[in-house]
Amino acid sequence: MAVDAVLLLQFGAPVAIAAAGETLTQKSGVINIGIEGQMLAGAFFGLLVDSITRNPWLGVLGAVGAALLLALTFAIFSVYLAADQVVVGTAMNLLSLGVTGTLFRAEFGQTGTLSTVPLLPNWHGLDPIVVAGMLGLCVIAFALKRTKWGLAVRAAGEYPDAVEAAGLSVHRLRMQAVTLGGMFAGLGGAYLTLVFTPAFAENMTQGKGFVAIAMVTFGRWNSWRVLVASLAVGAIGALQYWFQAANSAVPYQLFLALPYLTSLLILVIMGKGTRAPAALAREFRRSS
């Protein structure tokens, strides 16, 4: 039973944590395609800091810090310079792939596993990252719904002109939402290297960040529904282990592709008319 919970979380938890942050980011009107790269940076720098300091807690800090830097860069380009969010996000993903891949070779050579690096404590699948991620999710859900700041963030995503008219800065709110969201992606990335096996591989996130973005749409920008969606897709990702064990006639690659296919299928079924923030992916230029 405990093992099953672990399998469920293995795919679902990093997606859920990243999706929690992306929900906040998108609520402010920014779609951050770059969370894939921020997760990857989290996974790599988490392990790197851990291997240097021999302290997995510092590793988590390193992961979140690295993702924060990337998210900040993304925000400067897409918010302040008002550049196309998809272009910047794609460039950031490539940057992260390049930096982590290059440093990985330089620091660890060709081998990936570092068996001597300490991992975070783990109680039957429950670990500090999952706990922190879920607490963070609660805070985001509460802040978005019940605080003045959350209202302002949502307004920046729905009707930015009103925010400016009220004397608040759309740019500042979006910067905050993007960087906070990026930190969640880093935390989700750290889960991949600091919880089960201390190993990194080039491009090891394998699209989990993109799946998280799909889950935000699936959960209709509601923190709790996004969480349920992420865990559901995690369960589908875990199916492969059972089917592999069952030695079924269906090719195992189908099960590996299933989380992506399911995400796509869900978006297809939902179709148009989702309640996306009205100003999502629209850059805001201040009229002076």
Binding site: F77, L81, A82, V88, T90, G98, V99, E202, L267, T274
Partner: protein, 335 residues
């Protein structure tokens, strides 16, 4: 000016990763342009980059965010390998079959992108997400195919049968990697240039991308144009794979795509989404990739260092563009 900036970014990247600058530059140069083998490698790597870069130019000009070049490349390659396997069971190898392989690669890649285009138009699924998700599906399809229906007869390795020599593209010099695909890529660049800037269809495509409102007012069927852009974009990525298959690789295994589809995006972006500019972009990054192979022989680095240069270049171009755009026009400044 841009060449200087790109070179500066390369220097900066070397410094940041603590590689010895001058020896690294020499290794890069030797690997990219040092002798005829190096030049051959550069051109061989520029070829798929140019095809996928053109694919991205076409899509992004139409406002269609195709990030799934990777998946379209893979499916294109598999389509080519599939038709090759069927054909070789019945007829003798011939140059005509190469053309058939390339055609099927186009169709495969085009249809794979077409799914995303159709879903965007009909179901409102953002292509940014769907094309990426389709990449991962395509990669699993590749793994399945080369361990299943398309695997070599000996069934020893997860890869397809080698193409017979008669079904490989022409090579001017058997010692180098250079093959006729580079000519096809250049022709494609000119073709896409003519299409985009000298035909009505290309004009409409650009209009849908640059001013959707005007396009709608002019009664241009935007949805149809968008789907067409996806099909053409995917076909170019598929063709990249067909040319890679028949020109360089000769077989398809798990390492068939060296991120070619993904790397087409920076090629397109730094060329300002211009088909002829993409030639220069592909040559520059092709040279860097060829050079980085040589660099990797002597230092702990690999092609990933090129990704850093590429992404930094894209960000640099964005910054310059944004600063130009945000700067007040001279008239306003005086007022």
């Amino acid at each position: 000016m841009q060449a200087v900036a790109l070179f500066g970014l390369l220097l900066l990247t070397l410094v940041v990763f603590r590689l010895p600058v001058l020896p690294s530059l020499q290794l890069l140069y030797e690997g990219a342009l040092g002798d005829k083998f190096a030049v051959g490698r550069t051109l061989e790597k520029a070829t798929p980059l140019l095809f996928t870069g053109l694919g991205m130019v076409v899509a992004w000009r139409a406002g269609a965010y195709n990030i799934g070049g990777e998946g379209q490349f893979v499916i294109g390659g598999l389509s080519g390998a599939w038709v090759a396997k069927i054909a070789l069971g019945h007829v003798q190898p011939s140059g005509f079959l190469i053309a058939i392989i390339l055609l099927f690669s186009c169709i495969g890649g085009g249809l794979w992108a077409g799914i995303a285009g159709w879903l965007q138009v009909k179901r409102g699924v953002e292509a940014v997400i769907s094309t990426i998700l389709l990449n991962f599906v395509a990669l699993q399809a590749l793994d399945w195919a080369i361990r299943g229906p398309l695997q070599q007869k000996a069934r020893e390795l997860p890869q397809t049968e080698n193409l017979p020599d008669a079904m490989m593209l022409w090579r001017p010099d058997r010692q180098t990697d250079l093959h006729a695909g580079v000519i096809l890529a250049l022709l494609a660049a000119v073709g896409i240039f003519i299409y985009l800037f000298r035909t009505v269809g290309g004009y409409r495509l650009r209009l849908v991308g640059s001013s959707p409102g005007v396009a709608r007012a002019s009664r241009i069927p935007s949805d149809a144009v968008t789907v067409k852009a996806f099909l053409l974009s995917g076909a170019l990525c598929g063709l990249a794979a067909g040319v890679e298959y028949t020109g360089a690789a000769g077989l398809i295994g798990n390492g068939f795509s060296q991120n070619w589809g993904f790397l087409g995006i920076p090629v397109a972006l730094i060329s300002g989404l211009h088909p002829l500019g993409a030639i220069l972009g592909a040559l520059y990054f092709g040279a860097l990739l060829a050079g980085s192979e040589n660099l990797g022989r002597f230092t702990e680095s690999g092609p990933t260092i090129v990704y850093v240069v590429q992404s930094a270049a894209v960000l640099g171009f964005i910054a310059i563009g944004a600063i130009k755009r945000n700067a007040p026009a001279p008239m306003e400044a005086e007022a």
